[in-house]
C-alpha cells in the first residue's frame, strides 16, 4: 500500500508531464554531461601537459575549463524543470527516494558549491600555481563527480519501491544488488560525459587546432567503446528485465553510437575533420535513444505506483471532503482576529484557567495540580511576567516566551483590569486576637518556613520541589482564598491541609503570609479598621 500523498489535482495530463519531463531532462542532462566531461578532460589535459613539461606552452586544459562556467550554469538552471516535473508528476517515488537517501541528498549542496568554486576559480584565473591547480582540480572534480553518483542513487531508489523497506532498515544505504546496478549506471553517466564533452570541445575549437582536435576525437572514440563495454554490464545488472519499448530505445541509441564511432574512426584514420552535419544527428539519436530507454524503464516503476497513489489520494480526498468547509471557516476566523489582551487570554489561558479565571475549565479537570485561580491572585507585574516567561516546573503551566512582549503585557493588563491581580490583597475579613496572631507566627516559623522560608522565598529544600512553592514575598492571594488554601491544602502539591488548626490561627496565618509580601498594605488595612 502506498501512502496517499498528493491531494491536489495535477495541473496537466500525465502524458503532457511525461513529454515535458523527457524534453526538460534531455536538455538538462546534455549540459550536465558536458559540465562533467569538461571537468574530467580539463584535469586529464592538465596532468598530461604537466607530465610533458609543457605548462608554459599551449594549455588545452585552460581553454576547455574556461567554458565550465557557462555549462554548469545551464546545467543547474535547466535542472529546475525536470526536478519540478518529477515532483508534480511522480511525487511518491521521488520524495520517498530523497527521504530514504536524505543525508546524501542534503550533501549535494556542499558538493556542488565546492565543485563550482574550485572549477570556476581554475577556469577564470589566468595564472594559478601548478600545485594549487592540482589540489583544487582534484578536490573540485571529486566533489563534482560525487553529484551524479547521488542523483543516480536517488533514481535507482525511486525505481525500486520493492526495496524501500530494506533501504530504510539499512540506514540510508542501497542494498548490495542495487549498488552493483548503481555503479554501472553511474560509470555509464561518466562515460557519456566524456563523449559529449569531447564532441562539444571538438566543434568549439578552431579547425586549425588539429593536434587538439585529434586528441579530443580519441577521447570520444575511447568513451564510446567504454560505453559499449559498460552497457553490456549495465544491461546485465538491471533489477528487472527491460521491456520491449526500453529495448527498442536502447537499440536505437546503440545505432546512433555505432554511426558516431564509424564517423569518428573514419576521421581519425583519414585525418579529415569530423563533419558537424553528420556527427550531430548521430549524437542526437544516441542521446535521445538512451534517454528514452531510461524514461521508459523508469516509468514501468513510476506509473503504476503513481496511479495507485492517485487512486488512494482520490479516496482520501473524498473522506476529507466533509471536513473541508468547517476547517476553512476556522482558518478564516483565525486570520481575521486582532489579538488584544482579552483575546490572548481567551486563546492562550482560558482553556486551563477558565473563562472567569477561577481555575475551572474542562482541561483543568485533567490535571493532577489544577490550574490556578487567577482572579484571586494578588501579585506584581514582574512576578507575573516571570511566571509567564518561565512556566512553573512540575505543573502544566508552560513558558510563554513565544508571545511578544506586547501580548504578554496585554494579558497582564487585562487580568489586572478585570480581576485586580496587581492590587494589594485587601483587608482580612475578621479580627484576629493577639494570642492567635502569636500562635500563627509560631506555626509559620516552625512549620511553614521549612518550605516557604522565613521571608516567604522558597528554601534550598523546597526550590527543588515539583512545583516549588510560590515566592510569598511577591505573590499572594485574596485573604479568603489564602485561608481556603491553608485550610484545604493545594491539590497535587506538597502543600498540606491545616484544617486541624483553630480557625482564628488560620486567619492569623493569612495575616502573616500576606504580611510577607506587603507589610505596609496590611498595616494600612489594620489602621483603617
Amino acid at each position: 500500500m502506498t501512502p496517499p500523498d498528493f491531494l491536489l489535482e495535477r495541473p496537466v495530463s500525465e502524458q503532457a508531464i511525461a513529454i515535458l519531463r523527457f524534453a526538460a531532462f534531455a536538455l538538462h542532462l546534455l549540459f550536465v554531461l558536458i559540465t562533467l566531461g569538461t571537468a574530467i578532460l580539463s584535469l586529464a589535459y592538465f596532468v598530461s601537459t604537466w607530465w610533458l613539461g609543457k605548462l608554459k606552452e599551449l594549455r588545452w586544459d585552460k581553454e576547455i575549463l574556461r567554458t565550465f562556467l557557462a555549462h554548469k550554469s545551464l546545467a543547474v538552471v535547466l535542472g529546475v524543470g525536470p526536478l519540478l516535473l518529477i515532483q508534480v508528476g511522480y511525487p511518491v517515488p521521488f520524495f520517498s527516494a530523497i527521504n530514504l537517501l536524505a543525508p546524501s541528498w542534503l550533501l549535494l549542496i556542499v558538493l556542488l558549491v565546492t565543485a563550482f568554486l574550485c572549477m570556476d576559480f581554475l577556469g577564470q584565473r589566468i595564472e594559478v600555481h601548478h600545485y594549487l591547480h592540482l589540489v583544487l582540480g582534484v578536490l573540485g572534480l571529486a566533489a563534482l563527480l560525487a553529484v551524479p553518483g547521488i542523483f543516480v542513487a536517488v533514481l535507482v531508489t525511486a525505481e525500486n519501491p520493492q526495496r524501500w523497506a530494506e533501504i530504510a532498515a539499512n540506514g540510508y544505504r542501497l542494498p548490495i544488488g542495487l549498488t552493483v546496478h548503481w555503479l554501472f549506471r553511474y560509470l555509464h553517466v561518466l562515460g557519456a560525459s566524456v563523449v559529449f564533452a569531447g564532441l562539444f570541445h571538438y566543434f568549439w575549437s578552431r579547425p586549425d587546432e588539429t593536434a587538439k582536435r585529434a586528441s579530443l576525437l580519441r577521447w570520444v572514440a575511447g568513451g564510446i567503446l567504454f560505453q559499449f563495454a559498460l552497457g553490456v554490464m549495465l544491461q546485465a545488472s538491471m533489477p528487472r528485465t527491460p521491456d520491449a519499448a526500453t529495448s527498442a530505445a536502447v537499440v536505437t541509441g546503440i545505432a546512433g553510437g555505432i554511426g558516431l564511432i564509424a564517423l569518428i574512426l573514419r576521421a581519425l584514420v583519414n585525418r579529415t575533420p569530423l563533419k558537424f552535419a553528420a556527427a550531430l544527428p548521430a549524437a542526437a539519436v544516441l542521446l535521445v535513444g538512451m534517454l528514452l530507454a531510461r524514461q521508459f524503464n523508469q516509468d514501468r516503476a513510476f506509473v503504476p505506483l503513481t496511479r495507485e497513489a492517485d487512486r488512494l489520494a482520490k479516496e482520501y480526498r473524498q473522506k476529507l471532503a466533509p471536513y473541508r468547509s468547517s476547517a476553512l471557516t476556522m482558518y478564516e476566523q483565525e486570520i481575521r482576529g486582532r489579538p488584544d489582551g482579552r483575546a490572548v487570554y481567551a486563546q492562550s489561558c482560558a482553556f486551563c484557567h477558565g473563562e472567569n479565571a477561577d481555575g475551572r475549565s474542562g482541561e483543568s479537570r485533567n490535571l493532577v495540580i489544577p490550574a490556578e485561580n487567577l482572579a484571586e491572585m494578588r501579585t506584581t507585574r514582574e512576578h507575573l511576567r516571570r511566571v509567564l516567561l518561565e512556566g512553573v516546573p512540575g505543573t502544566a503551566m508552560p513558558r510563554f516566551r513565544y508571545l511578544t512582549r506586547s501580548r504578554l503585557d496585554g494579558v497582564i493588563d487585562y487580568l489586572d483590569a478585570r480581576y485586580h491581580v496587581l492590587q494589594s490583597p485587601g483587608p482580612i475579613p475578621m479580627e484576629v486576637s493577639q494570642a492567635a496572631r502569636q500562635e500563627a507566627r509560631r506555626v509559620y516559623d516552625t512549620l511553614c518556613a521549612v518550605c516557604h522560608g522565613p521571608g516567604g522565598a522558597p528554601t534550598e529544600l523546597s526550590r527543588g520541589f515539583q512545583p516549588p512553592p510560590p515566592d510569598l514575598s511577591v505573590y499572594s492571594m485574596t485573604p479568603q482564598r489564602a485561608f481556603d488554601v491553608i485550610t484545604s491544602g493545594y491539590p497535587g502539591t506538597m502543600m498540606p491541609a491545616f484544617q486541624d488548626l483553630p480557625e482564628d490561627v488560620r486567619w492569623g496565618l493569612v495575616e502573616v503570609v500576606l504580611g510577607l509580601r506587603a507589610p505596609e498594605a496590611i498595616n494600612r488595612s489594620q489602621s483603617g479598621d
Partner: protein, 315 residues
C-alpha cells in the same frame, strides 16, 4: 532586465501566495493564487529593493575601484538619486505590504526578527532598524551632495545595512505564516487543515498506511514515536536543535496532555495537535517518558524506539 522582472514577478507571486493565498483555499483558482493580496505590494518592495541594492553596489564599485576623480564626482549624485528614490518607493511598498497582511500574521513580525531569545526586548528591533535606516539616509544625503570622501566611508556599511534589511524582510515573510506551511491548506507539520478534524474523529494512526505497515503489533512506544514524527518533528528534534526534551522538562504527564491539545493557542506559530484523544494521551505519555530518559530512540534521525537488546545508541 524585462525578462528578469518577469521572473521576479513569478517568484513573487509564489512567495506571496505562500503567505496570503487570498481566495485560493476556498476556490482553488489559479489567478486567485497568482494575484494574491500581497503580490503587488511585494513586487514593489522586491523591485525597489533590487534597484536599491544595485545602486549601492554600483556606488561601491564607483567609490572603491574607480580611479578617475571626475567620473566619481559626476556619477555619485546620480547613484544617490537612484538609491534615495528606491528608498522612498521601498518605504511605500513596505507600508502597503504590511497593511495587506492579516493582523495576526503582522503581529508576529517583531518576534520573527528577535526570535524567542530576545522576544521580550522589542526595543532592540526598533533601534536596530532605525539605525540601519539612518545609515542609508545619511549615505543618500552624502551621495546626493556629491561628497566623495564621506561616501567612500559610508558605502560599505550602507551596503551591509541594505543586505540586512533584505534578510530581515525574508525572515519576516517566512516566519509570520503562523502555524501554516501554506495558510488555509496545510499546517507547518504537513497536516492538511481538514485532516485535523478528520483525525480528531477517526484517529491519525489508523489513517497512516506507512505507520500501520511499520508497527503491526501496535507497540505503544512506536505509536508515540510516529505521532511525534508526524505532529512535532517538522520543527522539534530529540537531542538536537529545538530539543523536545528541553521543552518538556519539568512538565507533568497530565500537563503535557493538556498542553498538547492547545499548542496552537499557546504558541502563535505552532500547529495544533492532530489525532484523537487516545492518541493525544499516547503522545503525552511518550513525551513524558522520553523526557525522563525512559525511552531511547535509535538515533537522532530515526524516530523509532531503540531495539530493547543489542545495538542501542543513546541519542
Amino acid at each position: 532586465v524585462l525578462l528578469a522582472c518577469v521572473s521576479a514577478s513569478i517568484i513573487t507571486a509564489i512567495l506571496g501566495f505562500m503567505l496570503t493565498p487570498g481566495g485560493w483555499p476556498a476556490d482553488r483558482r489559479f489567478w486567485h493564487a497568482f494575484l494574491n493580496p500581497s503580490f503587488l505590494p511585494q513586487l514593489v518592495v522586491r523591485l525597489a529593493g533590487s534597484f536599491l541594492l544595485g545602486g549601492l553596489i554600483a556606488a561601491a564599485a564607483l567609490l572603491l575601484y574607480q580611479k578617475e576623480e571626475k567620473l566619481r564626482r559626476e556619477a555619485l549624485p546620480l547613484l544617490g538619486a537612484v538609491v534615495s528614490s528606491c528608498l522612498v518607493l521601498l518605504a511605500g511598498g513596505l507600508w502597503w505590504y504590511f497593511s495587506r497582511l492579516p493582523a495576526d500574521f503582522r503581529d508576529q513580525s517583531v518576534a520573527a526578527v528577535l526570535t524567542s531569545r530576545f522576544s521580550q526586548m522589542p526595543a532592540v528591533f526598533w533601534i536596530g532598524n532605525a539605525g540601519g535606516l539612518l545609515l542609508l539616509l545619511v549615505f543618500c544625503g552624502v551621495a546626493l551632495g556629491g561628497a566623495v570622501r564621506p561616501a567612500q566611508w559610508l558605502v560599505a556599511p550602507a551596503l551591509v545595512a541594505a543586505f540586512a534589511f533584505v534578510s530581515e524582510f525574508e525572515r519576516i515573510r517566512e516566519f509570520i505564516r503562523g502555524p501554516y506551511l501554506m495558510p488555509g491548506y496545510m499546517y507547518a507539520n504537513g497536516v492538511l487543515i481538514q485532516e485535523r478534524p478528520y483525525f480528531a474523529e477517526h484517529g491519525m494512526l489508523p489513517n497512516s498506511p506507512g505507520y500501520l505497515l511499520s508497527n503491526p503489533q501496535g507497540d505503544p512506544d512506536r505509536a508515540g514515536a510516529y505521532l511525534f514524527a508526524r505532529n512535532c518533528a517538522a520543527c522539534h528534534t530529540v537531542g538536537g536543535v529545538n530539543d523536545i526534551r528541553a521543552r518538556m522538562a519539568g512538565r507533568s504527564q497530565d500537563g503535557i496532555y493538556v498542553i498538547l491539545g492547545h499548542t496552537h493557542n499557546m504558541v502563535p506559530f505552532m500547529p495544533p495537535f492532530s489525532g484523537n484523544d487516545d492518541e493525544r494521551r499516547l503522545l503525552a505519555s511518550f513525551l513524558y517518558r522520553l523526557t525522563r530518559d525512559e525511552i531511547e530512540l535509535e538515533s537522532y534521525s530515526r524516530l523509532i524506539p531503540a531495539a530493547p537488546a543489542g545495538r542501542t545508541r543513546r541519542p
